[in-house]
């Protein structure tokens, strides 16, 4: 059975998009058929990591939500953009970055149910093993919906007091939605912190297992979302952490 996995954080800038892109790349390199949907319609960004801009988007998620195209037509095969040996295949369904189209969706809203139908359709038509959903930070109807239909939820937080509070709300909601698999990830951990201490504190706070504590990485900052980290730095400790998460997803 294919797995729908949402990547979420209560606060912005925790590393959702970069984590999503890198996990998806690792899964595709392992031979799986993987899809990524950018549901961050208000502030899309993950397409950048795959070197895409507006002119590369034949269709976007927005077109699908407006009934202009089938969701499959908004799927872009980005396998070739990975710059690595990929046994599987990777598709990206980007959100529009046209200002007018973002404005329209914010103003008019859209049929959230179409998202669920669309995700299921994608999994079927592209014969996906995994569908990763990159979300807008915080909680709204679509993030709740993506949690509600996911078999696994990756919650990303930084070891920051504001993140602790907000993440508690997310964890609570995920439990209420009976999400079968909750994978907690701590990202951007300062070098000065003891990784194991952070893990322990987070596990205690939320009473759930922490899959990975990712250090803050200067290399990641310098890459600045212009490339896939795991391809550029296959032996970096951050890549090793991404691998641990991938193993958890596959389990």
């Amino acid at each position: 059975m294919s797995k729908i996995i949402s990547i979420h954080s209560f606060r912005g800038g925790t590393g959702k998009s970069n984590t999503t892109a890198n996990l998806a790349a690792l899964l595709a390199m392992d031979g799986f058929r993987v899809g990524i949907v950018d549901t961050d319609i208000q502030s899309p960004g993950i397409h950048v990591i795959f070197g895409m801009d507006d002119s590369d988007m034949k269709h976007s998620l927005n077109d699908y939500l407006w009934g202009k195209c089938d969701i499959k037509d908004a799927a872009h095969d980005v396998t070739g953009k990975l710059g690595a040996d990929v046994k599987g295949q990777l598709f990206l369904i980007p959100s529009s970055i046209k200002a007018g189209e973002i404005a329209r969706i914010l103003r008019e809203g859209y049929d959230v149910g179409l998202l669920t139908d669309g995700f299921r359709d994608l999994v079927d038509k592209l014969e996906l093993d995994y569908l990763l959903i990159d979300t807008h930070p915080g909680l709204n109807e679509e993030t709740l919906l993506s949690m509600a239909i996911s078999q696994a939820l990756i919650i990303i937080m930084r070891p920051d007091s504001q993140d602790y509070q907000g993440t508690a709300v997310t964890v609570d909601i995920a439990r209420k939605l009976d999400v079968p698999n909750m994978l907690m990830v701590v990202n951007k951990t300062p070098q000065a912190f003891e990784l194991e201490d952070v893990r322990e504190r987070v596990e205690k706070s939320f009473n759930c297992e922490v899959v990975s504590v990712i250090p803050h990485s200067e290399e990641m900052m310098v890459l600045a979302s212009s490339e896939l980290f795991v391809v550029r730095y296959p032996d970096d400790p951050v890549t090793k952490e991404f691998r641990i998460i991938v193993d958890k997803i596959k389990a």
Binding site: Q42, A99, G100, I102, A103, R104, L106, R107, G109, Y110, D111, V112, G113, L114, L115, T116, D117, R120, G138, L139, N140, E141, E142, L144, L145, M147, A148, I149, S150, Q151, I173, K176, L177, D178, P180
Partner: protein
């Protein structure tokens, strides 16, 4: 069925309580965020339907611990609330698909109108 006038049903009236809860959702349609407000095991029914995409009469009957005739009444009300879709043919154990196709409520962090208008002009 209307329970609103008579107030909440007695604690041991399981069917009555499920129906009462469903009747008293603030919105006419059930959205994902509404699911959070339901108590278990009604919430478990809605969660399972949303995650798997469908749910059968026997599954609802088991989750709610109700005989099929009563589970059917709960399902009918959920269909009325647009969360489940009535199947085209009803067999012994009909399967209902989820139907989440409803317009979103306003997004949380909506931009002010003036900014939206400016973006439109770009």
């Amino acid at each position: 069925m209307q329970f609103s006038k008579s107030g909440p049903p007695k604690k041991d009236d399981r069917l009555g309580n499920y129906m009462w809860e469903l009747e008293h959702r603030p919105q006419s349609k059930i959205l994902p965020s509404d699911v959070l407000k339901f108590s278990d095991p009604l919430r478990a029914v809605l969660n399972q339907a949303a995650r798997i995409g469908r749910i059968s009469l026997s599954e609802v009957s088991k989750l709610l611990d109700l005989p099929p005739e009563q589970a059917q009444r709960v399902i009918d009300l959920i269909v009325e609330k647009d969360f489940l879709r009535r199947p085209s043919s009803l067999g012994d154990n009909p399967v209902y698909e989820t139907r989440l196709a409803v317009r979103t409520r306003k997004l949380n962090d909506e931009l002010p109108k003036e900014i939206l208008n400016k973006l439109d002009d770009l």
